[in-house]
Amino acid sequence: MNKHVKISAENVSKEFIQKGTQRVPVLKDISLQVFDQELLVVLGPGQSGKTTLLRIIAGLEKPTQGRITLDGEEIRGPGPDRGLVFQSYMLFPWKTVEANVRLGLEMAQVPKEKHAETVRHYLDLVGLNGFEKYYPHQLSGGMKQRVGIARAFSTQPKVMLMDEPFGQLDAQTRLFMERETERIWLSDKRTTIFITNNIDEALLLGDRIVTLEGKLPGRMKKSYEVNLPRPRDPMDMEFLKLRHTITSEQELTL
């Protein structure tokens, strides 16, 4: 199969200045390719720089060294061609569900008459019809993140970036949302980078899993292809085997 490279990171490193004077290396020499229509999962424990990697791809941070390209063009700042789903939802509490989703359309200068239809379409997609007029504080965590996903999708980005989107949900809702994510992703196969610290989530969702080392600065460790049929069964023998492999190799670093 001829794979088109969508995003390519070349020797990306990042340092932060902490407390004004401390130089903290967060990422070191990350080289990574994401293919078109791929769901890539970046798996790493807390404090491994995975969120920073995603923020660099989103254009919210500049790499200290190296560069990242999207469709061959270097990323120089944030833009509507990449949609970001935040770990802590980051809905605007002063806007209704509908208005939160419409936000991206307004900014992308989509003609007004298309707003209502687009908003309805993406709220349908995430299963939130009937909640248009609710304010975020009236919703549960899982519902909030559905709004976050609809908002990121609404501008039709080339790439979806998901930063531990279900980290704050309870286990059951989380599993359900993982299934939903898979369903949505299968519906239009948009290139997606999904960040998580949960190995089951990684195995359920990923076409490919990239692991990061568990201490700063984060380095690329290994890449695993997951060639299991979807929807995946977490009790399946192959699934458990791969889980065992990844777990044992992850644990060596801890």
Partner: protein, 283 residues
């Protein structure tokens, strides 16, 4: 008991309204019952305190206060009835307050948004802030004489600083990731201001309005006490000069009533400005 249910996928939202049952025991524990007791006790003590003295007591009964209030409403004092005086004070407050808010909130937002503006203007705000607005009364009389202007100036000063500081703090306390939401969607700096800075600082701005109006009401009274020939402050100082506690207490009742109306309207405005906020129950 009424109940409404929505569900979305695997999650269910249930809203239930429960009515409390009324019994004698719950009545005694009921706060509203205690409120009645409290008011009865308060007015009885007031009445007894006022009647115990032999006529020269500097306190009149609640009933006499009400009567005084009625008299002042119907017969003019210093050229105007109590209603006219109330309106005079209120007008001054509304003018001074509006000017202060119109300048204060944009200035506060600017200080929060721009580091340069903050570097230039913050030191000036910090120098003026600790000086109580009422300390300006003497200068304002020297500058503007005894007309409307010195009072409006004091009210302006009293409500300006809270407006500025609350807007400024509102901007500073915004979750930085909220800006990222706009930036990721390709929004400009202007979009960040319009979509994040203004709405996110609105609760703080609205709290600032509350503080400002309270401070403005205090300012107008102080200014009227010092030099004036109309307004509620003038009424109570006139009552003092005439040794007429009925007039003083009547004026105070009016002052409390207007303050209450002002606070209540600010709460209404707050609900209009920030409809998304959860209700926080307090005093």
């Amino acid at each position: 008991m009424s109940k409404s249910t929505h569900d979305v996928s695997n999650e269910v939202v249930v809203r239930t309204i429960v009515r409390k049952r009324l019994t004698l025991r719950s009545l005694v524990r009921e706060e509203k019952f205690l409120y009645v007791v409290s008011l009865v006790v308060f007015f009885t003590i007031w009445h007894l305190a006022a009647t115990r003295g032999n006529g020269d007591s500097a306190l009149v009964t609640p009933w006499a206060t009400l009567q005084g209030l009625y008299d002042m409403m119907s017969s003019p004092l210093g050229g105007e009835t109590l209603v006219g005086h109330t309106w005079n004070s209120l007008r001054r407050v509304l003018i001074g307050f509006s000017i202060a808010v119109c300048f204060g909130i944009p200035l506060g937002l600017l200080l929060g948004i721009s580091e340069t503006a903050s570097a230039i203007l913050r030191p000036l705000v910090d120098v003026f802030r600790p000086m109580p607005p009422l300390a300006w009364i003497s200068l304002s009389i020297l500058w503007f004489g005894i007309g409307e202007e010195p009072k409006i100036f004091i009210i302006f000063l009293a409500s300006f600083i809270p407006s500025v500081l609350n807007a400024y703090n509102g901007v500073r306390l915004i979750e930085p990731e909220l800006y990222d939401v706009v930036r990721v969607m390709g929004g400009s700096r202007w979009d960040e201001i319009k979509q994040v800075v203004v709405p996110a600082s609105m609760p703080a701005i609205s709290a600032g309005l509350q503080l400002s109006i309270t401070s403005a009401w205090m300012g107008v009274l102080a200014a009227e006490l010092v030099s004036s020939n109309s307004g509620l402050g003038y009424i109570i100082i006139l009552g003092m000069q005439n040794s007429d506690p009925q007039m003083v207490l009547g004026g105070m009742v009016m002052i409390a009533a207007v303050a209450w109306v002002l606070t209540a309207s600010m709460e209404k405005i707050d609900m209009m400005l920030c409809p998304w906020r959860r209700e926080i129950k307090g005093l």
